[in-house]
Every structure is written in C-alpha cells, then in structure tokens.
C-alpha cells in the first residue's frame, strides 16, 4: 500500500492504517541502516530535492541520508524567505526543480501552509519537512516509531507533550498521529503558549506539570525558544524552568518506565536537565537514528514502493 495523497503535508490527512504502514516499513529500513553496506537500490534513478527555507542541519541531513541509503539522487537547495518574498515565488522555484527532473521535493519553510502551496503548483510529490507552526509529520512519525519500539505499542498509552505548544509543529503532528493510533495525548505548558481550542484536536490541556505527568507513559519535551520570553510570553527563563522543566524529581510522577523524548536540539539547562537528557529513559539519540529510518520508509512508499512486511 502506497501513500494515497500526492503530497505528505501532515498526519492529519493520513489514515491510521497508512501511518502504521509507514512505521512498519521503517523497521526493515532501520535494519538496512545497521548493515555494513547501507544502500539498497529501491529508489535508484529517482531524484529527491531538499528545499530548505529555514536552517536545519539535522532534518535536512536525515532526509538526504535516507534518500542516499535508498540509492536516490539528491540535491539540496537553501533559500531565504526574504529573497522569496521579493523574488521568485515558491511555486516558480518548485516548477524549476521539477523541470530539472525532481521526483520528490522535501520542503522546510517557516511559513505555515507553504508545502501545501508548493504541492498545488507542481506535479512532483511534496513532503513537508516542517512548516511554520503547522506540521512536522516526519518528526511525529519518528517519535511514534520510537515509542512503538520501546513500548511495543502505541494504543492506550498516555503521552504528555510539554512546553511551547502554541508554536510547535511537532506537537500538532504528534497530536494527530498519536490520537489516530489510539494514544491519549496531554498537553502541558504556560497558558500564554497554549493554542486556543486545541482540545478539539483530541488532546487534554494542563497548566500544571505534575498533573500532566501523573501516570504518563511518554513525555515529549519541546524546546523553549528564548525569543518567546523576549516577546513577553513568560517572565523569565528561570520561572519557565521552575514550572515546566522536566526534572528527575518531577519524572517520578510519571510511570516508572516512562520514556522521555525531545525533538532536539535540547536546551539542557532549561527544559531538560542533563541528568534526564542522558538517562536511559531518554531516547534522543535513538530518535535521530529512527528519523532516518522513518524518512526512508516514507520516501520508499511515496515512490510507489510495495509493502515490505
């Protein structure tokens, strides 16, 4: 079973079965990554372009390596949004890439909705590698893959997402994906960083971290940007940490075998103290590995790959 829609904009538009298919396909892909010879010829002759309007070494590299391990050709384009606004439109840039023979365009953009706009303008398939505060579907996939790997299942788990939910595309994509696969999602952060009516997406909202952690199976700790403090959304980093840092002490509220996730890069001294970040309960590095595997699975399925398992 391949992905039905031309573009992969968010998990919101995938069925539970499609999400599960991607996660299942990521398993053999991870196995490929563990081999001495890490390439398979699945996407030989295909070209994947990464079009990044935002700096992100991690995500770009992850997609690039995923494509390379599948033997696809890759090219990387960095652009700045300011030049786009003044010069060539996003759709024109996309059509240019397409005219050169690109099959899949992986786009990262700081404006919500940009991948959708790009997808409407090109025949090539578009994968959203993070757009504004909207969606980051591959991050959610790798988070879910990691949960499944550690816990054996997703259904019935309680997953607490902690931090700046308002500006988090990771949180939104995780809410869609996790709830579709039957997890209970809790959101916790200061009220000034909580999006309006987010409960309607199927998540529970908490302002009190202890309540939010109570009995949780997984905690996904989001990065807090200093810029939010500068914009007046909370008083000081110190006070943020007082209320919302994922400390060892607080972690005791959660289940004993709680899994701690972080999309990276971490602010070790702020939202996630080093003792927690480096603990066995924390899956930050596995998430990075699994990110490549999930992106391999997605690229494979989007190029019409058949079910592997």
């Amino acid at each position: 079973m391949a992905i039905r829609t031309k573009d992969l904009i968010d998990l919101e538009f995938l069925s539970a079965a499609e999400i599960q298919e991607i996660l299942n396909t990521a398993k053999p892909m991870k196995e490929v990554m563990g081999r001495d010879i890490k390439t398979v010829p699945a996407l030989r002759g295909k070209t994947v372009a990464t079009l990044f309007y935002e700096n992100s070494t991690r995500t770009r590299l992850s997609f690039e390596l995923a494509a390379k391990y599948l033997s696809a050709g890759t090219c990387n384009i960095s652009a700045s949004v300011s030049s786009v606004k003044k010069g060539e439109s996003l759709q024109d840039t996309g059509r240019t890439l397409e005219a050169m023979g690109t099959d899949i365009i992986v786009i990262r953009h700081n404006m919500s909705g940009a991948p959708k706009l790009l997808g409407e303008g090109v025949k090539a398939r578009v994968i959203n590698a993070g757009d504004g505060t909207h969606a980051h579907p591959t991050q959610a996939l790798l988070d879910m893959f990691t949960i499944e790997e550690r816990k054996g299942h997703i259904e019935g788990l309680t997953v607490t997402i902690l931090g700046d939910i308002l500006h988090s595309r990771v949180a939104r994509s995780n809410i869609w994906g996790l709830t579709k696969l039957g997890a209970h999602v809790r959101l916790c952060g200061p009220p000034t960083l909580m999006p309006k009516e987010v409960e309607k997406m199927g998540a529970e909202v908490f302002y009190d971290i202890d309540e939010a952690l109570n009995g949780a199976d997984v905690v996904n700790v989001l990065r807090i940007q200093l810029e939010r403090q500068e914009k007046g959304m909370f008083p000081t980093i110190e006070e943020y940490a007082k209320n919302y840092a994922m400390t060892e002490e607080r972690l005791k509220r959660a289940k004993k075998d709680v899994l701690v996730q972080h999309p990276g890069p971490m602010n070790r001294s702020i939202e996630i103290p080093t003792a927690v970040a480096d603990s066995a309960q924390c899956s930050v590095e596995e998430q990075v590995t699994n990110g490549v595997a999930c992106r391999m699975a997605l690229l494979y399925l989007m190029c019409g790959g058949e079910t592997l398992v």
């Binding site: 759709q91 404006m111 919500s112 909705g113 303008g121 505060t133 939104r172 309006k196 009516e197």
Partner: protein, 430 residues
C-alpha cells in the same frame, strides 16, 4: 431625449415599500412613472416579465485602487465590475497610493470616475494625513469637493486622542467617520480568526477581542463627541451586541457587514486558500448567526462588499504574506440572494434595502429609490437562472474570490445608470 420602458417586472422598492407587478418608465435619466400597462412608442422597451426590478445597488465600502495600484484595479475596471454586479453607486476607500487625504486627491477620483467610470462614484477621504494616525486630514476641504465620509480603513486610528479629535472635527462636515475596528497591537500580525482553525493550521490567530475592544473604544468616543460613527465590516457577535446597545442609547452609530462575513466561517481557510484571507478575518458560525440577526433587526444597517481586488501574485503566495481581501462586486448580490433570500432568512425586499436603500440613506446619497423623480439607477434581477461564479469572466482585475465555481441564483441581468443601460445579460455596454 432617451426613454426606457421596463415592462411587466416585479418592482421592489424598499424606499417606497412597494412590491408590485408594474411597468416603469424612464425619461432623461429620471424615473417618470410606475404604473400598469404604460405604453410609449418612443421608448426603448424591455420585457422584464418574471424579473425583479429594484433600485441600483449602493456599495459604501470598496477599493478601486486608483491612483497608484492600477495593477490591482482601476476606476474603469472597478466601476465596470460594480455595474456587472448590479451596483450603480460606489464609495471607494482612500487607501490608494498616495492616500486620498486632500481635496485634489478627491477631485482626481471624481474626475477619473467621470472620464472612465460607468457608475456613480462618491469618494471617501482619509481621516488623518497619509492615514498615519498623526495629524488630521483636511476633512472640511475634502467635504467641499465631494468626499462623503472619512476613513483610515485598513490602518485604524490607533491613538484614542487622535480619534477623539477626528470625531470632534468631523462635526464641521456632518459626515460620518467609517472605522475599521481593530486594535493592531492585539491583532499582532494575526492571519486568521483565533480559534480551532488557527490552531490546526498553525496560522497566527487574530482574536475577536481585537475588533471588539476597538468598537468599544469608538462607541465611547462617539458618546463623548456626538460624532457620526459608521462601523465597517463588523464580524463578531459581541461587536454586534455593543453596536445594538449604542443604538439603543441613541448614539449616531451605523454599521455594515460584508457578504463574506455573512456566509463563510474560519473553516473556509482549511486548505490555506488565500482567497479566504480578509480583514477582519472570517469568524465562526455563532458570529454569522448574530450578524444575520443584527441585519434583520436593524442593528446592522446595510451590506457593503469591501470589494478588495488584488493581483494573482498578491494571492498565490504563502498565507501569511498574502494580501487581505475579496473581489466582491460581482458575487455579492447572487451570493446573498442564494444564501439568504432563497433560504427564507431574508425577504427580497429586506435584501434590496440592505444593499441599496439603507446604505444610500446612511451616507445621504441620491440613490436607493425608484420613486418618481429619482435618478434612474435601476437593476433587473433574474430570480431563477442559475450560473456558476467564473472569476475569469470578472470585469474586475481582481480574480480573488473564494466563491469561484459556486452555483448561484439571483444574478443581475440589467444595470441602468442615469437612465442609460450600462450592463445587459452580464455584458458591459461600451
């Protein structure tokens, strides 16, 4: 001189509270008779049996973009779009380049309308110089040359002191200030209504409170000054409630609502369709219900399109960067006829009142009536024929509409300005 005889139509004129089957005779640009079985061999005759004959529509809030933004629209194209949509009188906002903040600019718009336009154009002048909110514009001098209201439209006067002074000063002119009610600090570059959809789409929310706090402020200042305040495109339930209270108190407040705020919710934004990006943003179902109720009970006096044409390039772009506005002239009437009259929410007479008689009355314009002796600004509406909106067929340069492809009824088939047919069956007569 020229005569025009409309035979057998259903004449709906809220100004005279008539709704009758009769003939209507026009001579020398004036309505000279409404009666049964008029015969006049010298007149151009149009059989309008089964059709609705109404006063030409009046739009007190639109953007014709000239001078300075002619890629988006000109007075020539904008007034043709108006005529195609059944509007015979329009009031363009002053947010052109440069801003119409002085008598010469007002005269320029009037002259261009006379030379290139096909409907009546009554310009709106700016409240402050350059609409910068710092110094009063020459309201009195602009009124002398024909400005009919004042507004800093998309750039609401932020300073409460300046707005107070503007209201006081406007008393010289006896003309209303039209206020685009938004506290831009609270808007904080929000792209759409703040709520569930902004959360899902990851677009920055513009809270209803940004509009409501400004409505509250301006009502309070209207009370202080005794000025005439016209609230532009009200979009929220609580905004409506405050206007209702202010009217009950006897303040000189009027209000308008747009066709899109009456028919679309934030749900329409779901695919990042930038044609849904408007200011104020599309709200929610409970707001639409309150707006409709307010339109019926008179709290909202009229409908205004806020016709805001843009180029394709202004709209085929990331949502945040996209320009605000909908090209509204050519869909307003059939949209509201289909959604409000055919569904029984408004009577035909109420709709004509809200689109013609009422706006003419609140802006004191010689329009909105089919009374004998009135200017022969008349439209004929086909109450039955269905047609899909085709934005590529718009006379407006602005193809930015979220209603493209919608099948609508109640299209205007004849537009008469000063007794002259300017549009027939959708075609502008040159």
């Amino acid at each position: 001189m020229s005569k025009l005889l409309l035979k057998g139509g259903r004449i709906v004129d809220p100004a005279q509270t008539i709704d009758i089957i009769a003939d209507l005779l026009v001579e020398d640009g004036k309505i000279v008779a409404i009666a049964e079985a008029i015969t006049d061999d010298g007149a151009v005759q149009k059989d309008v049996t089964g059709m609705i004959v109404a006063p030409g529509l009046v739009d007190i809030h639109c953007h014709l973009r000239e001078p300075g933004q002619e890629r988006k629209e000109t007075i020539a194209t904008g007034t043709r779009a108006a005529a195609a949509g059944g509007f015979t009188t329009v009031m363009p906002m002053p947010n052109t380049s440069p801003v119409a903040d002085n008598p010469a600019a007002i005269m320029y718009v009037k002259d261009r309308a006379k030379d290139t336009g096909v409907v009546h154009v009554y310009p709106i002048g700016a409240i402050t110089k350059g609409s910068n909110g710092k110094e009063l514009a020459e309201m009195s001098a602009m009124a002398d040359v024909g400005a009919r209201a004042f507004s800093d439209d998309g750039r609401p006067v932020a300073s409460s002191r300046m707005m107070r002074l503007a209201m006081e000063y406007s008393l010289i002119t006896k003309l209303p200030l039209i206020a685009h009610e938004e506290d831009l600090v609270l808007v904080d570059e929000g792209d759409m209504n703040e709520g569930y959809m902004s959360t899902v789409l990851g677009l920055k929310g513009n809270p209803k409170a940004a509009e409501e706090t400004m409505i509250a402020r301006d009502i309070i200042l209207a009370r202080l000054t005794g000025a005439r305040l016209h609230v532009a495109h009200v979009s929220t339930k609580h905004g409506v409630a405050m206007i209702r209270g202010a009217k009950a108190e006897g303040l000189k407040i009027t209000a308008e609502v747009t066709p899109h705020h009456l028919t679309l919710t934030e749900e329409a934004v779901k695919n990042y369709d930038t044609n849904t990006k408007v200011n104020p943003p599309l709200r929610t179902t409970e707001d639409i219900e309150a707006l409709l109720q307010a339109l019926i009970d008179g709290t909202i006096d009229c409908v205004a399109t806020d016709h805001a044409p843009h180029t394709i390039e202004d709209k085929v772009i990331e949502y945040h960067f996209a320009a605000n506005g909908i090209s509204g002239f050519e869909t307003a009437l059939p949209l509201l006829y289909t959604r409000l009259v055919q569904t029984g929410k408004l009577t035909l007479s109420q709709l004509i009142d809200k689109l013609s008689t009422a706006p003419a009355r609140i802006m004191n314009l010689p329009a909105g009536s089919l009374a004998v002796g009135a200017n022969a600004d008349i439209i004929v509406i086909d109450p039955k024929g269905e047609k899909a909106v085709d934005r590529n067929a718009f006379y407006s340069k602005g193809k930015n509409t979220p209603f493209d492809g919608e099948i609508l009824t109640g299209w205007p088939v004849l537009t008469v300005v000063d007794g002259v047919i300017v549009m027939e069956n959708g075609e502008i007569k040159e």
